[in-house]
């Protein structure tokens, strides 16, 4: 009997080991992915796509500034690379074409009327009476009727960074939606938790510009959320300037200063969220903005502004194997990783310039060598050359010399035929 228990025990151990091996082998494909995302330490955000949910929860003419807030954020986020398909813009949208609008069809966020935020090609996903608490929560959680079109859905995955911006009238742990209903901080916190459970985000940046805004993010409890608000509890957030032509306030202080900071940011910017938060000046804002980063796992100095505001992600460019040309496959990381260049490993690549330079009229075609690539390095990699090189390998790469040979042969054949038929010779009987 002892031997059978021993046997059973050995069997048990073996099965555990085998199962363990199975688990390990299942994570085999995950290892290179993990390695890609953590190439420069766990400081990387690990996101591959960016989304934005911009909500203006007020309507009516006197809340023009909330419309301008949301549209200003929309413009900034679009400028930095998030496409319309990845932006959910919820606006009452009753400012631009309001009969009281002196500048019909335009929404300005400054008194000088420099920049029309409304423009020709904005895409408002939820307008007018569709901006409700229910729709907002449905957008966040993704629980909507199957008839809702794609443009109104937040189609995020577990590698999406989402920028959620809310503006309007608010109070202690609530936000007023369209003078009709309220959303509470608990609702948003629960929605975010649902999103976390369903793996609908990688990181969320939550920005809110209302009175007593900091209370809105006080109830979050899901990981990877960074939040900021414009004022503390029992404090109001103020508007920035009145426009005497439009007749109402056109922008709020908090959003104005954030947008001003963002004007200095472009897609390749290395500015961090800490830089953004450092520009918050309670004196200028007349309120105390707050930042909540306890749920956020990365240090703010290493979190780029473009991780949330822009459509910038990690990418690795690998040249296809040009025949007889490449010694090693090349790994390049374009843009935004420049500060890490001392530690970056750019594999040595040699692309045979003659392959690309024969008859090719691109400028500097022969410069596509590793040194040039390293020089061009970070943000300036010439993708046209890479794409052209890739294209040439895919579509039959014929030496131009044989092409001209063929063309000449063919032309000579045609000319021979022509001369044979036209030069008068002994007439054949059938021609009479």
């Amino acid at each position: 009997m002892k031997s059978t228990t021993v046997h059973r025990f050995i069997l048990f151990i073996l099965s555990v080991l085998l199962l363990g091996r199975g688990v390990v082998s299942n994570s085999e494909p995950a290892a290179p992915v993990k390695q890609f995302f953590e190439k420069h330490g766990a400081r990387e955000s690990g996101h591959t796509n960016n989304w934005a949910v911009l909500v203006c929860s007020s309507r009516y003419w006197f809340n023009y500034r909330h419309m301008a807030n949301a549209l200003g954020m929309y413009r900034t986020v679009k400028r930095l690379g998030i496409p319309d398909s990845n932006i959910i813009l919820m606006l009452a949208d009753d400012a631009a074409c309001n009969p009281r609008n002196k500048f019909a069809g335009c929404v300005y966020s400054n008194t000088g009327n420099y920049l029309d935020l409304y423009g020709d090609n904005i895409e408002v996903d939820y307008r007018g009476y569709e901006v409700t608490v229910e729709n907002f929560l449905r957008v966040l959680t993704g629980r909507m009727d199957s008839s809702v079109p794609r443009s109104k859905r937040l189609l995020t995955d577990d590698r999406s960074n989402i920028f959620v911006y809310m503006t309007g009238h608010g109070g202690n742990e609530f936000l007023k939606f369209q003078d009709n209903e309220e959303i509470s901080a608990f609702d948003i916190a629960d929605a975010f938790e649902q999103m976390w459970q369903k793996k609908r985000y990688n990181e969320i940046f939550f920005m809110v510009d209302t009175c007593q805004a900091n209370t809105m993010f006080s109830k979050f409890y899901s990981p990877n959320i960074l939040a900021t608000g414009s004022s503390e509890i029992h404090e109001n957030s103020y508007s920035h300037e009145n426009d005497y032509d439009i007749g109402v306030a056109v922008i709020d202080k908090f959003t104005h200063y954030v947008l001003q900071f963002m004007e200095g940011i472009n897609k390749t910017s290395q500015a961090s969220m800490q830089d953004l938060f450092n520009t918050f000046d309670p004196k200028k804002l007349d309120s105390h903005p707050g930042v909540r980063s306890d749920l956020f796992r990365r240090p703010l100095e290493n979190t780029l502004v473009t991780d949330f505001f822009g459509g910038v992600a990690q990418a690795e460019v690998v040249l296809p194997a040009l025949e007889d040309a490449i010694v090693e496959p090349e790994a390049l990381e374009p843009e935004t990783k420049q500060r890490q260049s001392p530690t970056r490993e750019v594999a040595d690549t040699f692309v045979d310039p003659s392959l690309l330079a024969t008859g090719w009229e691109l400028p500097n075609a022969s410069d596509v060598t590793a040194s040039a690539l390293r020089q061009h390095g970070g943000p300036d990699v010439d993708y046209t050359k890479l794409m052209v090189a890739a294209a040439r390998t895919e579509i039959a790469l014929k030496e131009p010399f044989t092409s001209t040979l063929r063309a000449w042969a063919s032309s000579l054949l045609i000319l021979a035929l022509v001369s044979w038929t036209t030069v008068p010779r002994n007439r054949r009987p059938s021609e009479h």
Partner: protein, 404 residues
């Protein structure tokens, strides 16, 4: 006026216009060039070819590989050479037309030569596509050259020209049978006195064999340029499968934009076979005057071709000048002329309204192509009527000519 004077003058005038910047505005006009004949696409194809990329791997380039080989070797294509080339092809076409006229009238020169040359060179339907540097001008020139050489009994040259024409444009294969018959008969006018075909019809067999040889050799030259047979599907196949639905003055494109995929093969076959059914009846009915059958088949092509441009009906209308004996018997020349005027004004207008201004839609342009088709159809039907009516001649009082 003397032909010796007017012809060079017309050609010189055409050359001056061809060298002007006017060509840039006309180059990509949908009425003047089709996806098979556009100059921009030709340039694209030559560029790709010169850089070692197969121009037939995509679907922009649908010209014949022979053009590819000629323009990348013998005739470099730039602004100046293009102007000279297109002017030369128009001059060749007009000169061939005059020669056909002379052969038909059996004279070495006549007072009408300059009029006929002018009717081709100044016809806006042929003149504008040539300025727009559409290769349909080459097709016209080759067609007229082939007919002229057939009238002069130079069989090999004529068949080679036709083979070349078919390389450029597959629907022109309709002209094969009439051309072969023309080679063994006379081009002189016998419309008024019809007779059964006099010569032994089996004489066309060696000619047909010669033609087959030319087509094979030219196809071989084309395959030699490309290195593979992709060109067949992209050039000839385009006329049969209609892959590109760019608007043109023809009748196919709109029909196939609204066609369900299920019916596409059926209607493609119907439209292609439709072209073929006209050949035999016209050749049989006009066996006494085969040149007239060629003329009518060109009319058929201009209406029912897959990718026509304005130069196809232009050729048909210019060739009308070869048959003045039919003029008294045309039923409704005024109506035809007015329909053509109507269509010629509406086509560019509705095209502009639809695609530039955006206040019209495709139906406007489609309607104008229908009017254009009606104009061409009216011209064709009237020509057929007149060609047959001549044979009846003067009609006695109280008698009428009826069509059963």
């Amino acid at each position: 006026m003397d032909f010796i004077v007017t012809f060079p003058a017309l050609v010189a005038g055409r050359l001056v216009l061809a060298l002007s910047p006017l060509t840039h505005y006309l180059r990509d006009d949908h009425l003047l060039s089709s996806p098979l004949t556009s100059y921009s696409r030709l340039q694209e194809g030559i560029y790709l070819f010169k850089h070692g990329i197969d121009p037939y791997s995509g679907s922009t380039f649908r010209h014949s590989p022979l053009l590819l080989s000629l323009f990348s070797t013998v005739i470099p294509l730039n602004e100046v050479t293009a102007a000279f080339l297109w002017t030369a092809s128009d001059a060749l076409a007009a000169w061939s037309l005059v020669r056909i006229w002379r052969a038909r009238q059996n004279v070495s020169s006549s007072s009408r030569d300059s009029l006929i040359a002018g009717l081709y060179l100044l016809n806006p339907y042929t003149f504008l596509p040539s300025l727009g540097q559409s290769t349909s001008s080459f097709e016209n020139a080759l067609c007229l050259l082939s007919l002229m050489l057939a009238c002069q009994k130079q069989a090999s040259a004529s068949l080679l020209a036709l083979a070349f024409l078919i390389q450029l444009s597959l629907p022109s294969i309709l002209l094969l049978l009439p051309l072969l018959l023309l080679l063994i008969s006379e081009p002189t006018s016998h419309l008024a006195s019809p007779f059964f075909f006099k010569t032994d019809i089996r004489r066309i067999t060696p000619l047909a064999g010669q033609f087959a040889a030319y087509i094979l050799l030219l196809s071989g030259a084309a395959t030699l340029v490309c290195g593979n047979l992709n060109w067949v599907e992209k050039t000839w196949g385009a006329s049969l499968t209609l892959p590109d639905l760019t608007p043109n003055p023809g009748l196919w494109w709109y029909f196939f934009t609204e066609m369900f995929d299920h019916f596409r093969p059926f209607f493609l076959i119907v439209f292609s076979v439709h072209l073929l059914i006209y050949v035999l009846p016209l050749c049989i009915k006009f066996q006494h005057d085969i040149l007239y059958a060629c003329y009518l088949l060109l009319g058929i092509l201009s209406i029912f071709k897959a990718y026509p441009t304005l130069s196809d009906p232009g050729l048909f209308l210019s060739m009308l000048s070869l048959f003045p004996e039919t003029f008294p018997y045309l039923h409704h020349p005024i109506v035809t002329a007015l329909l053509h005027l109507h269509a010629a004004l509406l086509l560019p207008l509705f095209h502009y309204l639809w695609l530039n201004q955006g206040t019209g839609n495709a139906n406007f342009f489609y309607a104008s192509t229908l009017v254009f088709g009606m104009a061409n159809g009216a011209a064709l039907l009237d020509s057929i009527w007149a060609g047959l009516r001549i044979a009846i001649g003067e009609v006695k009082e109280e008698h009428e000519v009826l069509q059963e």
